[in-house]
Amino acid sequence: MLNCLSRQIRALPFTFTASCRLSTLPTLENIESTEIEEPPLIYGGYTNVRQAWVSNLDTTKDNSSAIIDLHPQVFGSRPRIDIIHENVVWQRKYRYVSYANTKVTAEVCMSGKKPWPQKGQGRARHGTRRSPLFKGGSVIHGPRSHKTHFYMLPFYKRVYGLTSTLSVKLIQDDLHIVKNLDLPSDDPEYIKNLVDSRLWGPSVLFIDDTDTMPRNISLALNEIKHMNLMPVYGLNVYSMLKYETLVLTVAAVKKIQERLLYQLHRPDCNYANRKFQLNQQN
C-alpha cells in the first residue's frame, strides 16, 4: 500500500509532490536518541501541520518527550459535523433489521364465524371479528417483519467522516498519542489510575496497528467495561465518538495517515465512489 502510494505521489508533478509528502514519523528507536537534534519535519506547502505530544503508558505520570507531526489533511481537516452525523446514522442503520410485525386480516387467529346475524339486531353488519375494526383484529398498514435498513454511504463521505472525526478529537484534546501499548502490569487499577491522573476519559479507546495486542493491556482492559482495544482496520466514526478519549499508538497514526492519504489522492476515485451494488467486489 505504501509503495503504491509513494509511486503515485512520485508520478505527480514536483510542486504537488512537495505539498503532499507523506509524514515520515520517527521510529520508536530514534525517538529517544534524536529528540533534540532532530530537525522539524517538513510537510511541503502545508502551513498548518498539526502536532501532538507522544506520551507513554509505562509510567502513571506523563513523560512526554517527543512531538509528532500530523498530516493536516487527516488530523486538521475541516470538521464537517454533518458528515460525522451521516456516518453515525449510517453505522446504526446498515446493520439494523426491524423485526416489528403485525398481522393482516387473514393471519389473525380467531374464529371465522359471523359474529351476529346480518339483520334484526339493530347492530352494524359484520362478517368477521378479524377485521381491523375490532379489538384484537388485524392492523392496517402495520409493520411487516424483516425490514432491513441497509444502505451504503458514498465512499468519500466515509473517508471524510474519519478525517473529520480525527480532526475534531485532536482539536478538542480528546486524542492522545503514545509510543506503544506496553504496560508494566496487568492490574486494571494501574490503567485506571493512569487515565484518571491524565484527565483522560473516563471511557477510552486504545488503537494499535495490529490486532494482536500486548498481554498486559489486554488483561487489564478485559476487567474494565468502559475501555477498549481496537486495531486500525476497525477504526470507525461511531466508536471514536462513543469513547470520550482516543489513544493512538505511533504505528497506528502512521498507518491511518497512510491509508487515508491514499484514499484521498487515489487516481481512480470515480471507481471507488461508484454506486454501491449488492454483488460488488472489493
Binding site: Q73, R78, P79, V88
Partner: protein
Amino acid sequence: MTSFTNKNILNLLRNLPRISISNLKNNDGAVKKNQRGRAQHGGDKHGHGNKGSKARQNFMRPGYETGNNPFYMRFPREQYYKDHHTKRQYPPLSLNSLQKMIDLNRIDITKPIDLSVLCNTGLYSIKPEDKHFGVNLIDEGADMFKAKINIEVQWASESTIAAIERNGGVITTSFFDVNSLYILINPKKFFQRGEAIPRRMIPPEDAILYYSSAANRGYLADPEKISWERFVLSQKYGYKLPKIEDDPDYEMLISRKDQRQIFYGLEPGWVINLKDKVILKPIDPQLKEFYKS
C-alpha cells in the same frame, strides 16, 4: 476536507463541548421530504386554499385547442434530431486536457496512446452502451500542445491532426466495434473472463470512407498517401514537418495496430491468463486461419 482549513473553525471547536453521539446534528434542510403527505400526514388542501374554482381548476396543457388539431401539429416539420439516438457518438477530449494528463504523468508518452490508456487515467471515460464509439480529439488548446505522441483516436479534426504532427507526433483514426470497445476500455475485466481476444470488426458502411481516407489518417488508408497528406497539411498550416525517420523514438512512433487487432502487442486469438501471468496462443491451424488478419 481540505488541507487549508480555516484555523478559526478548529479553534472554535476547542471551546465548545465535546462532540459526541448525543449532540450531533445534520445540516438544516439536508433531509428532504419528497412525498406528498396523505390523510393525517398533511393531506389537506395541498396549497390550493379552501374550495372554490381555484381549488378545483385544471388548466389545459399549453397548445391544446379543446379537440381541434393543434397549431403545432398542423404543419409538417423537419425533424432535426431524427434518429439521433442511433447515431454514433464520440465524446470530446481536448488537446488541452490531453496535455494536462501528460504533464501530470497520467499518460506515459514513451508508449503509444490508445483509448485504453485514456480510459485508465480515470479522467476520461466512454460508455459504449450510450452509443459512444470512442474519443473525438478536439483542437481546443492546439496552440499550447507540445507533446510528441503516437495516439490512436476514433475521430479527429484537421487542426487536431496538424497540432499533433507539428510536434513530430503521429495520429491514427481507427474504428472499434462495440464488443471491442468494451474490451478496450476495461482490459482487466476482459482478461479475467479468460476468453480469447476476438478480432476487431471492420467499420460499418457509413464509416468506411472516413477510416480509409488518408486526410483523416484513417487506419485503413494507404501509408504512402498518408505521408503525402502529412506533407500537404504541413504546407497548409505552415509548419515544418519534423522527420520521423531521424527521431530517437522512431520505433514507438511508427507502431500501429493491425486492422483486426484490439491491443498493442496482443493478437486476436490469444488468451491472457492474469493469475499465472502467461499468454496462451492458438496452435490449431483452423483457429490460426480464423484469427488471421
